[in-house]
Symmetry: C2
């Protein structure tokens, strides 16, 4: 049962699509305090209680023991002590002595102290007085999730080919580089469906333009790749380059479509193209306008996009940079003491994504100038909905692949997400795993992390182990940063090991795709913590390294370097399956702890007793898969 409590006059975030009669916030059945521009409420927890949720967020499946903040942040250092990543997913479920879900529909900051200040107390602070809170009671955590998911509407389903293997890098900067990737995969006999175009495909990083030196006839090139079974997926950034003669900029300026400063002039900040202006996605007219811009690319045969830098990321504002340079200049000749030195260093470090800059931005919401801080968390989501709305109108559903970096619940109906700029850290295999059920709870089914790790150098074994988890994630994309080691499957010794892993993905697509569709259609999760399925099993309850997948499976990736396998906990008797290329090796294992050997070219999978899953024959492209000829394991 969902009960909605309303305080003040909430800004419409479009997160919830079902309608609920609002009760007054004064009836909210938790100890709480409203005032001073915020709303605080809390609840007590028993020792074994678990808090699930918060979607794309740092730390564990069980979120207890930390302070999180809902504030979309461009921060590539996904360490344990961060409080925010790129998304704001304001849904949690407490499970244990009491079981309920809470969704806070509010587009600005929320602070979630989930047992940090006091181990058995949660204190949640909504940074404003205009919001809705939905309390979901009755049933198991999974039932609570389903009820919530029904309220927020059906999750985005991408085209089938989006389940193929995808290769990305910042950057395959021209047609020759893209061709080398495709050729590398073809030669190594490794399947591939998509190659990504990072920022360098554009002319000077201008959205909806093509660098014609890099791609002399882009449309012909896109169609040529499509004929080879390959989809090219260009990136779209939130900032629009400020450049006379650039039509998107000129139109936006003319029509007053960019975000403003308090004095009514356009807000400007440096991002990849240099100085940019920022479309006001809070304005429905701007959303329509920007969404239709994607047509430039779909007209050339493009059918997939990733939206980036839409928290929005700001490298610096003109005002901030001027202040920093003036400060440095004024200190010349001084014998700086330590305080002055660190202060100066902090000024330069603090230029990017500065709170001062965010606070200086204004949106036009229904004719009213609204400060950005009040709606920060829906900026990126609204960029993505802009495109999604256009795609649905122009092409219908399930035709265009799209995922976004910044997100907010509601965007899950239009798009997937990727988990942002992770690192080539072994610990990020598990961070990826832990985010999956949390993202599913919040409606984001099409998701995944940068396999192999985006930042810093990866190793062959890390990429293989990361991919062996990625085999199961709807978005299976290998992505790496400028200046790092090549991490395409064919770039390492013995590419046949990569082939063995990626072939498994293609064999599983019928199963993964049908599981995905069913989850979307029934508002269910694809990935669940073991505790959802085995609530009375003490070991399963605290398992943070394995997940349930669909109704049939459990996954348990190897996530330690130099390990020839891992310890796994089976909450019931299961079949341990090792998949490698076309090979399938099975072993019945009883409930309990087991050490299982898993070679670098093997994908471990556990199938519940009495269940079977289909495998198709592998192919080099999703479009070559035969869904009718299945074997069952």
């Amino acid at each position: 049962m969902i009960t909605k409590y309303t305080s003040g006059s909430p800004i419409d975030t479009e997160a919830v699509v079902q309608s609920f009669p609002p009760r007054k916030i004064t009836e909210f059945p938790f100890k709480n305090a409203l005032g001073g521009g915020k709303f605080t409420f809390g609840f007590e927890m028993e020792d074994g209680d678990i808090v699930y949720g918060l979607g794309e967020a740092p730390r564990g499946i069980n979120k207890r023991g930390w302070i999180y903040e809902s504030y979309c942040s461009d921060d590539p250092f996904h360490t344990e002590t961060k409080s925010s990543l790129y998304a704001a997913h304001n849904f949690i479920v407490l499970s244990g002595s009491k079981t309920f879900g809470i969704y806070i529909d509010f587009p600005s900051r929320i602070r979630w102290d989930l047992g940090y200040t006091s181990q058995n107390s949660a204190e949640i602070t909504v940074g404003g007085t205009d919001f809705d809170i939905y309390l979901i009671e009755g049933g198991s955590p999974r039932e609570i999730v389903r009820e919530f998911r029904a309220a927020i509407g059906q999750s985005y389903i991408p085209p089938l080919w989006a389940f193929g293997y995808q290769q990305s890098r910042w950057s395959y900067h021209n047609a020759q580089a893209v061709d080398r990737v495709i050729e590398g995969y073809n030669k190594a006999d490794i399947p591939l469906d998509c190659v990504y175009l990072d920022i360098d495909y554009m002319d000077s990083y201008k959205d909806f333009t093509i660098n014609s030196e890099a791609f002399p006839d882009f449309e012909a090139y896109v169609r040529e790749k499509r004929a080879q079974g390959i989809h090219l997926i260009p990136i779209i950034d939130a900032g629009v380059k400020q450049e006379d003669g650039y039509s998107v900029f000129e139109e936006g300026r003319e029509k007053g479509y960019f975000c403003k400063k308090a004095d009514g002039s356009d807000f400007e900040a440096g991002v990849w193209p240099g100085m940019c202006r920022f479309p006001d996605f809070l304005n429905p007219e701007v959303r329509r306008w920007f969404g239709e811009k994607y047509k430039t690319l779909t007209d050339m045969g493009i059918d997939g996009f990733w939206n980036d830098m839409n928290e929005p990321a700001l490298f610096y504002s003109a005002d901030g940079l001027k202040k920093a340079l003036d400060k440095a200049s004024s200190l010349r000749g001084d014998n700086l003491d330590l305080g002055k030195f660190f202060n100066l260093k902090d000024v330069f470090l603090g230029l990017s994504n500065s709170q001062e800059d965010y606070s200086s931005i204004y949106h036009n919401i229904g004719g009213e100038m609204v400060n950005h801080q009040r709606v920060h968390n829906i900026y990126g989501a609204n960029m993505t909905k802009a495109a999604g709305e256009y795609f649905e109108k122009a092409f219908g559903r399930e035709k265009i692949l799209m995922f976004s970096r910044a997100s907010f619940i509601g965007a899950h109906r239009s798009s997937g997400i990727w988990f942002g700029d992770n690192h080539s850290w072994w610990s990020h295999i598990l961070l990826n795993l832990k985010m999956l059920p949390a993202a599913n709870m919040c409606g984001f089914l099409y998701c995944g992390a940068d396999l192999g790790g985006f930042n810093e150098n990866s190793t062959r074994d890390l990429v293989l182990r990361f991919l062996a988890l990625g085999v199961f994630t709807p978005l299976m994309r290998n992505h790496s940063a400028l200046g790092t080691r090549d991490q395409e499957g064919y770039s390492f010794e013995k590419p046949e090991d990569f082939r063995d892993i990626i072939l498994v993905r293609y064999r599983l697509i019928p199963y993964l795709y049908s599981t995905f569709r069913r989850a979307s259609e029934t508002n269910d999760m694809i990935f669940r913590p073991l505790s959802f399925d085995y609530p009375d099993d003490a070991v399963a309850r605290e398992c943070e390294t394995q997940l349930m997948l669909g109704e049939e499976c459990m996954i348990a990736p190897v996530c330690e370097q130099n390990a020839g396998g891992r310890t796994v906990y089976l909450p019931e008797d299961m079949t341990f399956v090792k998949l490698s290329g076309e090979n399938v090796e099975k072993q019945e294992l009883p409930k309990g702890l087991h050490y299982v050997s898993v070679a670098l070219n093997e994908v471990p999978l556990f199938i519940k007793k009495g269940k079977k899953i289909p495998l198709c024959k592998p192919a080099m492209r999703t479009e070559e898969l035969d869904f009718d000829e299945l074997t069952f394991i």
Copy 2:
């Protein structure tokens, strides 16, 4: 058997104390290449081979699969992808298809590609042509370690009280703050032996001075605390404040004791006190001089020290800062493009510990001007040996507690180490564990990490779980950074849980101290990877979360938040012991995998069949412990 191979005319690092007849490097029995100012050699590895060693270094017990660099670095972000930390410990052991040890006695950069470029190949590059390599062959990894350890001389043994529990923070900045800590522990009935004085006890961060506002009569205060059973442990930094009238500075300047620049003037750089000069610890006369300065503090009753910032850490040099400010100034008014912006940001970020600054430093070695880069890795070790030599002469052995941040093999005879400025990350419990056997291999027995984590905010459960590992580490010190949450045992809810953990330490001191002494006297390790003891057990061989302790025990800390226990692998039948306060709970467990419950106030320990370890009665200070009244478990 140890064979020494010499190339060129090595600088004497004082690492090795036994003498070996040198062979020519041309006889070195690995594929190698000497030339172009460097020496490169390599060997092949089989799939299951393990590389142990490198002491204080990032990543696993098994070092395979990464590139490490021997280069003492002040870097507080101990993430997986770092190549260097504060120490340069150039000893590895390969174990598997072949088993041998290699020690490279060389005070500058060494690059260890241990299966990064190619998974089964090691390639090691010595950054110079004047060095000794010791090849240790024959016997097990443990025997190879013992032979190496005999060659480098007996490890430092601190006074017994250094095994007591220690509390630190940056900073307990005056006598009242220190008293509050002691009172906090006393009131909570939690044992305590040491309180640390971080940089603020000094007058303007000047070594060997006292801030007389903070400590009006320091000597009386030190003696008063000693009477309460508490040792105060002040920090000593490498840099000497440049200030007229400050005797250490004036003496050093007068006698030419500071490091130089190429033009013969003193090298200057900013550290905590502002502009500093750096004692030339490579000069034996300076070492004597600086070592004797510690007398200022020992005369006041101080009997323990920690040496810091001795990589050396440099926040900025006068020259570097001037260049940065000039650059910023020249860019004023420009509409910066992205390249210029990031370049400018990098200039400010790169001011600290810059290679340009290190390259501009010169040492006086036997009258010759030697560039710092040639001897970088022994600078901090020689600072610590300066003090160690003085202490031994003035007080005899085992009288003064000392440990250092930077280190090099050889300093292990004079001092312990701590593992530097870690973070309040759950993953750093395991990083601490993984460093212990590697540090032991290199002679550093008295060591430990900042329990609870130094940087960023900790949580109550993290501090408890970290301490439960720290119960076994010779240095058991809780330390946290400026601006972070208080993390003393009494600062959290239910301090009795902290008491239960720390009491266990005191009960174990007879066992831990005798194990420590025996390891020092027999050149053995206190902590060993499971694979050292169970080389034919495949699961034990890759275990990275448990250690053997002495001849009797295995340890396996809980290292995941919200976990009520952990999975542990027993390579043979063992007794699982849970220690909490004065309680001892025992359970016989057979060889194999087990999930064991461990509450937050319990210390898990595993005792081998047929072995027993002593426990004494707990006390509030080590000096109150009765070593004669022991019970055995």
